[in-house]
Each structure stands twice: as C-alpha cells, then as structure tokens.
C-alpha cells in the first residue's frame, strides 16, 4: 500500500515539475518580484520627487527667514506686486500655490490674515509644513515677550527622541516591529499565494482526472484517499522544490552581496580612527550610522533559521488543509468554470489572515487580535509567520502559542482531510451536474 502512495506521489511530482509552465514560473517569478519591487520603488520615488513650488508674497516685516525650501516644497519670493498680479503670475507659472502674508500690525495680526491660494484643495502635507513655520515663529515671538531669548528658544526647540530598550536592556528601535512584521508578512503572503496557486494545481489535476475519465481506472487499483493524498503531497513537494530553488539562489545572491558590501561597511565603521578635529562634525553622521547599523543588526538578528523552519511547517500544514479542500472541490465539479462559488469561501480566510495580519500585527505583534488569528488554524499559517520574526520567548511569541498553533493546525488538518476525502470519494465518480452545498453535505454520509 505504501509503495502505491509512493508511486502516486512520484507521478504527480514529475507531472508537475516536468511541466513547462513550472520551469518558466520557477525562473520567471523571482525576476518578476524583483521587477515589481524596482517598479514600486521607482514609482514611489517619482511621487516623492515631485517638488511643489509655492510663491510667497510677503508684505509684512515678519516671517522672512522661515521659508526654507525642503525636499518637496520650494519657495519663490514675489516682490512689489499686487495680490492680483501675484495670483496671475503664480497661476501662469504653474506654481502649486501662493502664500499671501499681508502687512499690518503685530505678528499675531499678520499671521491671522495670512492666506494660501491654490488651484484645488491643498495637499495636507503642504499646509502642515506652512502651518509649522508660522507656528514656530509665533511661538518664538510669544516666548520672546515672556523674556526668552532666541538662543534660549533654539535650546528649547532641540528635537528629542525617546531612547527605546527592551527589558533585557537591548536598545530597541523605532519601526522595527513594522520591519519585522513586514518580513514575516512576506513569508505569510508567500504562503497565501502558494496555497492559492498550488491548491489550484491540485484542483485542476483532479478535474483533469475526472474529465479524462482515468479516475475509475486508478481507483480500481488504489483507494481514493491514497490518490488524493498522493496528489496533494506530490504537488506540495513540487512547491517545496520551487521554494528551495528560490531560497538557495536568494541566499547565494545575498552572500555575494554581503561579500561585496561587507568591505564597504568595514571601511565606514571599522577601526580606522577618524581624525580628531572632524569628530565633532561627524558626530551627527556617526550616530545616524550606528542607528543604521542597529537596524541592520536587528534584521540580521531576526531568527532566520526559526523563521524558515516555521515557514516550511506552516506552509506544509496550511497547504495540506487548503489543498484537500481544493481537491474536494475539484472532485465535486466537472469543469473549472463551476468552481467559482466554492473557491470564494476558501480564499476568504486567507485574505482575512493577510489583512488582519498587516493591520494588527504591525501595530502590536503580541496583542489579542494578533494572538487569536495566529492560533486560528485557517489564518495561523499567515499571521503566526508575521509574528515570528520577533523571535520566541521574551519579547516575541511565547513558546506555548507556537506549539498550540501548530497542534491546532494538525488537528484541523486531520479533520478537514477526512471530510474532504469523503466528498472526494463520492465526487470523482459523479458526472453531469454541479452539486449544491446541500448535496455535498449529503455526500459526507454516503
């Protein structure tokens, strides 16, 4: 019996791996993903690079120094023209807007009468930046009246960033949760895509056996359950092969990158002592540098081994659950067009996992929602992987949660596979009409 299962797995695996589309996918997908990332980065850059020009007509004696061009706003000063003329020229030059600061009275009065003219509703970040400029000058003026000198003011205004640490005393970093969840999310997303793609393969393969009418020939030699299991495992191995190829080639690329970049990093942060006189000027940079290094360290400190092992565990279990449902669907219908109504309810929890993951795990990887969804078997393969880059134990996922999540997944797998097998067993011999949900439930009792 075992050798028959082996034969089926081998056939399904070879049928998948030899398929031309598999080979093309394996080579093409990484290129596509890299291409996508480059495209997104490029588009984001274009978006970021848009510089809005705001013309400033300042008739007052205040606010002369505030308007320093930033990364996305640059200022053009207009002089000695009327407001109407300024509006006309701003519009004709295609500038983003006109900031009018009228003359008259106190700084408070001037500020109150200042006005921004734009073509459409102004962008929030633009108004925000302008308001900040006013706010700062007004604050300085108000404090000045209370006897605060400008030196004292700039002392007061010094930016402040909170020092972040874990209980163990490791310095923690802003945004590192997001970065970690994002990395885990990448794995979770990969699982979702693979469940959908490889589940679809299983389903199509079942439909193919039905439509080519070979199914009865085969199940007169092996049990339907063996065939289903063999098909799911064979396809799953093909998927793992594909992943392994990607991970190995990615690690090779990464190692090459580290080898090349490693020399640079060494030169920048290494032991070569910097000349004393530049130390003061460099302090700003070296603190930024060390922060970058800390981020890099955090990313390297992500338990990659654990993550990759868990990825395979969750991938295999999640895939087994979903693909047995896909197999049952394939058995229930005669052709692919009939599958739609059954597929939607399967994809729902996957999507839910992704969205809940991105919204709750990002903000709080150990919050109640994140924990619940990382335990619930239909979403845990995705959500748990988003939490895992934080590690196991203190500060990360408690070990019991990981074990409970995997156990629940295994129990669910056994339950769902036995239900799916019943539908599969009946469905593969049914031809003709598309069954309703009611009929599927009836099949469970045959």
């Amino acid at each position: 019996m075992g050798s028959k299962l082996g034969l089926i797995i081998k056939r399904e695996y070879l049928a998948k791996v030899r398929n031309r589309s598999f080979i093309v996918m394996t080579i093409l997908s990484p290129l596509l993903i890299v291409g996508m990332i480059v495209l997104i980065a490029y588009l984001a850059k274009i978006n970021d690079d848009e510089v809005r020009v705001v013309s400033v007509l300042n008739e007052s004696n205040y606010f002369d120094e505030g308007f320093i061009s930033t990364r996305n706003i640059s200022y053009v000063y207009l002089d000695q023209i009327s407001l109407e003329a300024a509006k006309d020229s701003t519009a004709s030059m295609g500038y983003y807007g006109l900031l009018h600061i009228p003359s008259g009275g106190s700084i408070e009065n001037v500020a109150r009468q200042a006005h921004l003219y734009t073509k459409d509703n102004p962008n929030t970040s633009v108004t925000q930046q302008l308001e900040d400029i006013f706010q700062k000058q007004l604050r300085q003026d108000r404090l000045g009246k209370l006897g605060v000198s400008s030196d004292q003011f700039s002392e007061v205004e010094k930016p402040f960033g909170l020092n972040l640490s874990t209980f163990e005393g490791e310095k923690s970093l802003k945004g590192i949760n997001e970065i970690k969840a994002f990395i885990g999310g990448g794995f979770g997303y990969a699982i979702m895509m693979f469940i959908i793609i490889y589940g679809g393969f299983v389903m199509r393969s079942v439909i193919e056996e039905k439509t080519s009418r070979i199914i009865e020939v085969i199940i007169s030699s092996v049990k339907p359950f063996q065939l289903m299991l063999g098909k799911i495992i064979g396809t799953s191995l093909a998927g793992i092969t594909q992943f392994a190829i990607w991970i190995i080639s990615a690690s090779i690329l990464l190692m090459l990158a580290v080898l090349l970049l490693g020399l640079d990093l060494g030169a920048m942060t290494g032991d070569t002592p910097l000349p004393q006189e530049t130390m003061g000027g460099m302090s700003q940079f070296s603190s930024m540098d060390s922060e970058m290094m800390m981020y890099a360290k955090e990313v390297f400190d992500i338990p990659w081994g654990l993550l990759i092992v868990s990825f395979f565990v969750y991938f295999v279990l999640g895939y087994l659950i979903y693909s047995s449902i896909y197999a049952a669907i394939g058995a229930a219908v005669d052709n692919e067009t009939d599958t739609q109504q059954f597929i939607f309810p399967i994809i729902m929890p996957l999507m839910l996992g992704i969205y809940v993951g991105f919204f709750s795990v990002f903000s709080n990887p150990n919050g109640p929602i994140a924990v619940a969804f990382s335990l619930f078997p239909l979403t845990s393969p995705i959500v748990m992987l988003m939490r895992l880059p934080g590690g196991i134990g203190q500060g990360g996922v408690p070990l019991w949660q990981l074990l409970l999540s995997i156990s629940l997944l295994i129990v669910t797998f056994l339950g769902i596979v036995s239900l799916a097998a019943k539908i599969y067993r009946v469905g593969i011999l049914m031809y003709g009409k598309k069954p309703t949900y009611k009929e599927l439930i009836k099949w469970l009792r045959y």
Binding site: K4, L7, E216, S220, S221, L429
Partner: protein, 312 residues
Amino acid sequence: MDHILVAKNVSKSYGNHKALSNISLEIPENCIYGLLGPNGAGKTSFIRIINQITHQDAGEIFFNGTPLAPDHIALIGYLPEERGLYKSMKVGEQALYLAQLKGLSKSEAKKRLKYWFDRLDIGDWWNKKIQELSKGMAQKVQFIVTVLHEPKLLIFDEPFSGFDPINANIIKDEIIELKKKGASIIFSTHRMESVEELCEYIALIHKSEKILDGKLSDIKKAYKNNIFNVGLQIQQDGEALIRTLGEKFNIISSNIDLLEKQLDFKVQLPSSHTSEILAELSKVANVNRFEETIPSASDIFIQTVNSKDNGK
C-alpha cells in the same frame, strides 16, 4: 463447480436511491458471464463493489471462496465504462504507472508491456502522448493495462463501446484467448446482443434487482415457445396453401413472395415435436427452411420484466 465470485444478498443505496437490493449471484470459474440490464439498473454499482471502489451496505461477497479483501484487487482486472488515460502523459510511462499500481514490479511490467504492445501491433507508440492517438488506439492501450497483471477475474463494463468494429473484433478474440488461458470474465452491458454469443452464463438486472440468472442455454431452453420459422418453395397458389395449413396449425404470421415463388411463415407448435408438421409440409411443398426460433437475451429480458410487472 468452483466459483470465482459469489455474492450473497448484496444491497447498496445512495441516500434515498436504492442501487442494489438483495443481489445474489454465483459466477463460475473460467466462464464468460454476462451481467445484463438497462442503464441505471445497478450493474455498475455492483461492479464497483467488486472492485472495492465502494462498499455494500449489506450482504457478503466471496472471491475465490474467501471474503473479498483489499489484496484481491491485484487479482481483478477492470475496464470501467467511464475510461480514459492521462492525456499529456506518454503511453509507455502511463502503462507502466498503471501496471505498478496493480502491484507489478517495474521490470516485470516492462517485459509484459512489450509483449502486449507487439501483440496488438502498437509497439511504436511507447513514446507518444495519449492526445496524439485516436480513440480506438487509446482503447487498445486501455485494454492492455486492464489485462497486464494477468488477473483471475476480468470485468469489462460496456466493453465494446467506443471501439470500431475491427478493433472490437481484435479485443473480442483476445478476451476469448484469455478465457482459454483460465481467466473468468464478466461482461456488463445494456446492449445485450453485443455479448450474447460470447456469454455462457447471464444475470438480468432490472431496477436494482436480479430478475433472472443461470446458464444461458438453460434459460433459452426454458424460454423457447416452440415457434418455428418455415420456408416453402411453392408451385401453386400460396394463399390457398396457407389457409389449409392454418386449419391444422397455429400460424402466427406469413409472407408470400410470388416472384421468388416463396412462402415464409411462423408457426407455433403445441410441443417441441416437429415430425407431424414436417410430414404434412413435405407432402405439399419443398421445405427450404425450417428452424426453431430461440429467444434473444433481450427478448427474454422484456418477457421477464413484463411478466414480473403483470404479476404485481
């Protein structure tokens, strides 16, 4: 007599639909057995139970004297009504795969496949894909796969559907050959005339019940009704002749061909004794045909179903 397969009170239902009710059959070893009945009578359900694709709700099945068990699968060859092969897989690879699923070792399967491929003249198809073959060619491959593991019991569900007449004959000869070598064969079909001449035993299945079974020749004997087809070469007026004969015998129908001077009629005799009518006929004309009509399986089927329905 030994039986390859014995079914005792086998029942099976799907939900509210009764597929088999209390079917009992005895299939003798080394014979050709016809499982006959219209579509939906329950034949395929019964065969699927033998192949352990589904299981009976009640009743017992014995294979070669022992209760049907999973390892009997290797002793059964099954050509289902709904049959096909993987379209994009190569013929040889596919046949090897299916043979190995039946428990043959790879080398043994290869050896036997080579023998059969040569025998059926399809040796050069080994590396072709099924989708490149015609339907009839694919059926040959299918047949080989069914018989390759030399099963003791061969089950053919609607065996000749999809075969062209030439290939159907080749397959028919192969099946007879297999029987000679000792295999027991079950034909299941609704086209009763297609297998009648081959079957030694039959069972008639109707609406999930067995209505008749036994040795075909015995059944035919039991169902014959002493109707004879007679042909006479006539010189004189055929009309008058048939009238005089009609006074003595129960003539069912008649037909006169003046051009050929031929009178054909059907007559039912009170018993199977023919000496009286033959003596009578030879006095008046030259007899060129005289044969007993033997009911076909489908005649018997219709007759049994009707009498059963009337009996209710």
